[in-house]
């Protein structure tokens, strides 16, 4: 049985609606904690800013494009997302190990942990899709990017100097190639 959304779903709705009042509330509650954690673990204020912004954008994207429903409180969820993102970044940069590798930033429930993992998994999938996209030819990349801009497809065809029929055919072929790459693990 699927769980009903947590009352903190309101934060996701506010992010999608670009509600500056609630976004300010989120910054007030969480920005300082994330900054302290990152400074304490070999990062800078700029790193903290990037991690916090990227995390909020990830949550926003998932809420807007993937209908993410929150089943846990928002604050520990966002903090955990930021923390995991920073730990991954540290691994990538191969810098000093984290000062504290346990979950000392906050004590989180199972739901929060699962939700943060799901978000991270979806981000990884998106990275895979982007890698496949990068492997396509230039014409395919151009057609896919332009056709996703939300403009009328007839107009996109005109801009690209092709017929509407060709655009649909070519986009189908390009997307099918991309999906095959993803399914064959690139």
């Amino acid at each position: 049985m699927s769980k009903s959304p947590h009352p903190d779903q309101r934060y996701l709705i506010a992010l999608v609606n670009n509600d500056a009042g609630v976004i300010n509330e989120i910054y007030k509650k969480c920005a300082g904690k994330v900054k302290s954690f990152i400074l304490f673990n070999n990062g800078s204020a700029d790193d903290a800013e990037d991690i916090f912004q990227e995390s909020l954008v990830d949550v926003y994207n998932q809420a807007k494009y993937k209908k993410l429903e929150l089943t846990c409180p928002f604050e520990p969820f966002l903090l955990l997302v930021c923390k995991r993102k920073w730990l991954n970044e540290i691994k990538k940069r191969s810098i000093l190990p984290v000062t504290k590798s346990d979950d000392s930033l906050l004590h989180v429930g199972e739901d929060t942990f699962e939700q943060a993992e799901l978000l991270e998994k979806q981000q990884e999938q998106t990275e895979t899709f982007l890698k496949a996209f990068e492997k396509l030819g230039d014409r395919c990349k151009e057609i896919i990017t332009w056709s996703m801009k939300g403009e009328a497809q007839e107009k996109v065809a005109e801009t690209l100097g092709v017929t509407y029929g060709y655009l649909r055919k070519k986009k189908s072929e390009c997307m099918a190639s991309l999906i095959k790459m993803v399914q064959n693990k690139l």
């Binding site: 976004i23 900054k35 954008v57 926003y60 994207n61 986009k171 189908s172 999906i179 399914q183």
Partner: protein, 244 residues
């Protein structure tokens, strides 16, 4: 077989099927779990790519909001607060703080790219010849000496009188940007971009420049990519994209 189904699904979603093929696909899908899964996967991958490759205006405005709060919460202004300083040192620290603040606003290290690519910023009024100087002529005169505040007042009146005039809206949008009404300016220019006037891609370039000025390179890149080859700003947009 799987490959065929993937292509078939892509063609179905992208509308590359005639009515008979379409109906056939839908009938087949009713009893074909693979095909149903392919359709779910297709839509999922498509949406995932869309959010990365082609964020819409609302996405850009959201990032704008975050940028504003980022400065406030991650880089609060470092104004020296020392209680036991002698008065003249207090004055010096006050002056230093003002200079520091001015430097932050001016931000020459971030403006260099902007200055290089902002280009010639002149307003030309095409319809001349009238005996009496029009509001547009006056606005252009103010605009061309960079008195954007005065130009904006006149252009606002013109915009109210002729809301569909793309030229008026374009320059009005630019004066809004120049007078720090960034959000309103972008909305105005976005309207011009969504139209079909000769100012369409000038508007896209102006919006891109506004993001460059705000150091929002992602959004700047997105707007530059909207400018197609053969239009006035294409070469500049291409060069700037390479630098970003």
């Amino acid at each position: 077989m799987t490959d065929d189904k993937i292509l078939l699904t892509a063609r179905y979603v992208e509308g590359d099927m005639d009515a008979i093929e379409r109906a056939g696909y839908e009938t087949q899908m009713e009893n074909d779990a693979d095909l149903q899964q392919h359709l779910i996967d297709y839509n999922y991958i498509h949406e995932s790519l869309k959010m990365k490759l082609a964020p819409d205006d609302a996405d850009l405005l959201f990032r704008d909001t975050l940028s504003k709060f980022n400065s406030e919460y991650f880089h609060p202004q470092q104004v020296a607060k020392t209680i036991s300083l002698k008065p003249y040192v207090k004055w010096l620290s006050g002056i230093a703080a003002v200079l520091f603040l001015g430097l932050l606003i001016w931000a020459p290290w971030r403006m260099s790219l902007y200055e290089s690519f902002a280009g010639n910023n002149q307003m030309t009024v095409a319809e001349r010849g009238a005996e009496k100087e029009t509001n547009l002529d006056k606005a252009a005169a103010f605009y061309n000496v960079k008195d954007y505040k005065s130009a904006k007042i006149l252009l606002e009146k013109e915009h109210v009188a002729q809301p569909e005039n793309a030229m008026v809206n374009y320059y009005y949008g630019k004066t809004l940007l120049e007078t720090q009404q960034i959000g309103e300016g972008r909305v105005m220019l976005n309207g011009v971009y969504n139209g079909q006037s000769v100012f369409k891609y000038d508007a896209a370039y102006a919006v891109a420049m506004s993001y460059l000025k705000a150091d929002n390179k992602d959004a700047c890149r997105i707007w530059l990519q909207k400018i197609p080859a053969g239009t006035a700003h294409f070469e500049q947009a291409k060069a700037l994209l390479e630098k970003l």
